[in-house]
Symmetry: C2
């Protein structure tokens, strides 16, 4: 019987401890290869590199059968891995473990989630793992839990085109209250921009802000993580707002100088 | 009566002719302000700038009452405009006119669409305009059409949280077959990676590929543009795959060392 073959990627870069812990654990249940950014690429969203070429540097990552550091974004890494570095050799993409949560509307900014989404767009199933702790993350127990979850999920009748976005609160594993299947919440930050003066009187700005927690209720991912659950959200890549198709089709929108419809 | 107040942005940069044409035309029907990247930022997806500060440089853009060149991504521009540069002063965001189409799954890579999506996430309606011609775009007639469409659309009962993604084929305006309300197609490229050798024997890669057209049928946006229609797709930002929530909730996913659910 062939082993499960997993591609691991992330957006914190190939040296990140969250990726290293994940590879070590997943190598116990699968053949693991790695293609990850050569540096930190957080908050890059679904950016891709169109106007310069990409390089892939051979690396040692303990537990991985092969590993490449890519001079691009997380989405670049997955494109390159699937279509050039490991063609036909990947069953599942696992992205992470991200340092910090990827919840709610913030998933649109997330390189970790975008890497997984790129995999799904190319026809492979994917899971993104994030640890909801930015300042002082402890990855090892979460990596072990990720291994168990991957093993359990891979037994299930996985629908095609599916991305599962998993966020884990930083608690003792025994203190986690279980797995909740959730929807994406809506994170709208308070005080989102800081305005400051440089020493020469010029103005500069920081994107900042705090997410108000109280307007994200069950069954959102934000609520689940805040309440000690492992949050698991199924995600797709079709942004069409189907609810509005009929409404808008009913609007009379004539083009100027145009009689045909 | 107050004028409609429009923020114009894009991902081709504040000097791009597509933006300039759009501002000139929209200034005939609205008070226009501009916040756009200080350089080309195509294919940046929904990236934001978290780890360095942003600068906003005062610029002259003919037709605009105020204009800033921002040292960040398209999504940065919209955040900064709404929350710091023009707070409470914007009714509608118009992004574009992009040089090249933004169709189907490619919208996830698009800075133009991501800028508009950021506006919607912050509570403002938005329209993204793209001209489906990369090599030799002629923007003026499409900008005039965009003005007419904005004027027509703004009279409609616009649902909240709505982004309209508009793609226009490069035809004589009189030859356009009308406006089609469409869904996002799925663009999966053939031959997606080019592998090359540098003069010193090293390997590098280009993201490339051609989109096969034939698997995108009516009512997709890809089909509409290929058949001479102006494509108008309603887009939302909730990536939750609601179809799978019940299925996955039915999977028995126990955490290790954990008895509580």
């Amino acid at each position: 019987m062939n082993n499960l073959r997993i591609l691991v990627t992330n957006d914190d870069g190939i040296m990140a401890p969250g990726l290293r812990s994940l590879v070590t654990e997943l190598s116990q249940i699968a053949d693991v290869v790695v293609a990850a950014p050569d540096r930190e690429r957080s908050a890059t969203g679904h950016a891709i590199t169109m106007f310069q070429p990409l390089r892939a540097k051979d690396m040692e990552v303990p537990g991985a059968q092969a590993a490449y550091a890519i001079s691009g974004t997380p989405a670049d890494c997955v494109k390159l891995a699937i279509d050039a570095l490991f063609p036909g050799q990947i069953d599942l993409i696992v992205s992470g473990i991200n340092r910090g949560a990827n919840l709610g509307t913030d998933v649109l900014y997330s390189g970790t989630v975008s890497a997984a989404l790129e995999g799904v767009m190319l026809g492979l199933p994917a899971i993104a793992f994030s640890l909801a702790e930015y300042m002082d993350p402890v990855f090892e127990p979460i990596a072990s839990l990720a291994k168990d979850l991957v093993q359990a999920l891979w037994q299930k009748p996985w629908p095609p085109d599916t991305l599962l976005n998993v966020n884990v609160p930083q608690l003792e594993v025994a203190a986690l209250r279980g797995v909740k299947v959730t929807t994406l919440g809506h994170l709208r930050y308070n005080n989102p921009i800081l305005t400051r003066q440089d020493p020469w009187g010029g103005t500069y700005y920081w994107l900042a802000g705090q997410a108000p927690e109280d307007n994200n209720v069950e069954p959102t991912d934000v609520w689940a993580v805040n309440n000690g659950y492992v949050s698991l959200t199924p995600i797709h890549f079709d942004l069409t707002d189907y609810r509005l198709l009929d409404t808008i089709a009913g609007w009379d929108l004539q083009l100027p100088n145009n009689r045909g419809r």
